[in-house]
């Protein structure tokens, strides 16, 4: 059963992405694309000619996607949280390498920003994992999900996690990595056709990755987890529609001054 979920993880993420586009459109009082739009896009990309810059560049996108998928596998199988975070880090670094491997200036700026984003959200994810360890005595997801009441004992960690979600799913105010009007997608810029499709699908997987951290806060009751995920999803989109992009340096400052503080205070409180 769990393997079915794992195999369909990109589809699940695609539905989340499609639903999000509809939701954002409704928030702006427009009709928006159909729910299955991401899949139409994917099928269309299969039918385009593909231009590649050089083959390692194309291959890195594929590797990025599969390693990301593997970290989703690890989440669904209930493996070690630290292991999952570092797998995800590895996938991200492949993407950054790809960004640096071509001559496009936008791609380089995108890769720089991607690195800075990594520096911003990675410590928060680790501190959240540490929080779970202190509460449940284990880094294993399967054991974390045995207990409950995380939300009451680490509300500040939850707030910090909610602050880094926009970075991960590339939403305003922290969408510097993609910034379509500014650097035209950053690291994605030189991809086309089927290789762009892998990046497009890895975006779906990012949704599952980051929202499964939110789900963990529900602990043993999956109801609380689901409600939390839905609530954060709404809130992130609301903030996305209501705010403008901040500069990369400001993003780092905000995350380090506020989210980091929240984490440290909460962990000190638990200790």
């Amino acid at each position: 059963m769990i393997w079915v979920w794992i195999a369909f993880a990109p589809i699940l993420g695609g539905l989340a992405y499609g639903g999000e586009r509809v939701l954002r459109a409704r928030m702006q009082r427009r009709q928006g694309p159909p729910l299955l739009q991401p899949f139409y896009d994917m099928f269309k990309l299969l039918d385009k000619r593909t231009l590649i810059v050089h083959s390692p560049h194309a291959l890195l996108a594929v590797a990025h996607f599969f390693i990301l998928w593997f970290s989703i596998v690890a989440i669904f199988m209930g493996w070690n949280l630290l292991y999952i975070i570092f797998l995800h880090l590895f996938a991200q670094i492949l993407l950054i390498l790809a960004g640096y491997s071509v001559r496009s200036v936008y791609s380089h700026i995108g890769a720089n920003r991607e690195l800075l984003m990594l520096i911003a959200y990675e410590p928060i994810l680790l501190l959240v994992a540490v929080g779970f360890y202190l509460e449940s005595g284990s880094f294993e997801i399967s054991e974390i999900l045995q207990k409950g009441g995380y939300l009451t004992s680490m509300p500040l960690l939850f707030a910090a996690l909610a602050m880094v979600i926009p970075i991960k799913v590339k939403k305003s105010p922290f969408d510097v990595g993609e910034a379509h009007q500014e650097i035209v997608g950053g690291v994605e810029i030189e991809y086309s056709g089927i290789f762009y499709e892998f990046l497009y699908m890895s975006r779906f997987l990012e949704y599952i990755f980051i929202y499964s951290f939110v789900f963990l806060f529900g602990g043993v009751s999956s109801w609380v987890g689901t409600v939390l995920v839905a609530g954060t999803f709404l809130a992130v989109n609301l903030v996305d529609n209501a705010t403008a992009r901040v500069k990369t340096a400001d993003m780092l400052k905000i995350i380090y001054s506020i989210a980091m503080m929240l984490c440290i205070v909460n962990i000190a409180g638990i200790l």
């Binding site: 009082r29 928006g32 896009d41």
Partner: protein, 176 residues
């Protein structure tokens, strides 16, 4: 593949380029993309990146300074692709016709599939043109398409086609 061709219609990604227009039609295009006319309900995304686009929306009569970029952008869009010329000046030269620094319309440089009249073309017309363009897009093959002018070469490097020199550079003041 036949099966996937049906989905071309459902997700046209748009690249918008201003080849020296007065900005009237650009504003109308943005209006068509905005909440009121909501082009996104057809799956349109304004990508701004030629390598990921299907529809090339051009405004402006092609000034001498912009022609290189026009051809360069055109040759970077992977096939199948459709060119939509938005506005009178893009289709015929319009109010700029016969001026010393412009060409009369983009179809001297690249093949155009849909012409939109109007100075400025209204958002409703632009939407109609895009929908018309979708039919053209669905029927197209994946043959490589050439620009008419400033076409360099498509070479084979190894067993791959290289588009590096597909768009030729011109001297800035040379009349073509």
């Amino acid at each position: 593949m036949k099966f996937f061709s049906a989905f071309r219609k459902k997700s046209p990604w748009v690249l918008h380029y201003n080849a020296g227009s007065c900005n009237g039609c650009d504003i109308e295009i943005l209006a068509a993309l905005g909440p009121k006319f909501d082009l996104e309900r057809f799956g349109v995304i304004n990508t701004g990146n030629p390598k990921q686009s299907d529809i090339f929306l051009v405004t402006g009569p092609v000034t001498y300074r912009s022609r290189e970029r026009l051809v360069e952008l055109y040759s970077q869009i992977p096939e199948p692709k459709v060119v939509v010329a938005v506005g009178s000046c893009t289709t015929t030269g319009g109010v700029f016709r016969g001026m010393y620094n412009v060409e009369d319309g983009i179809d001297r440089y690249i093949p155009v599939d849909v012409y939109v009249p109007g100075c400025a073309a209204s958002p409703q017309l632009i939407i109609d043109a895009l929908v018309k363009g979708l039919d053209v897009l669905e029927a197209k093959s994946k043959e490589i398409e050439h620009p008419f002018k400033l076409f360099g070469t498509i070479e084979m490097i190894g067993n791959k086609l290289s588009r590096l020199n597909m768009a030729k550079k011109v001297e800035q003041h040379e009349k073509n």
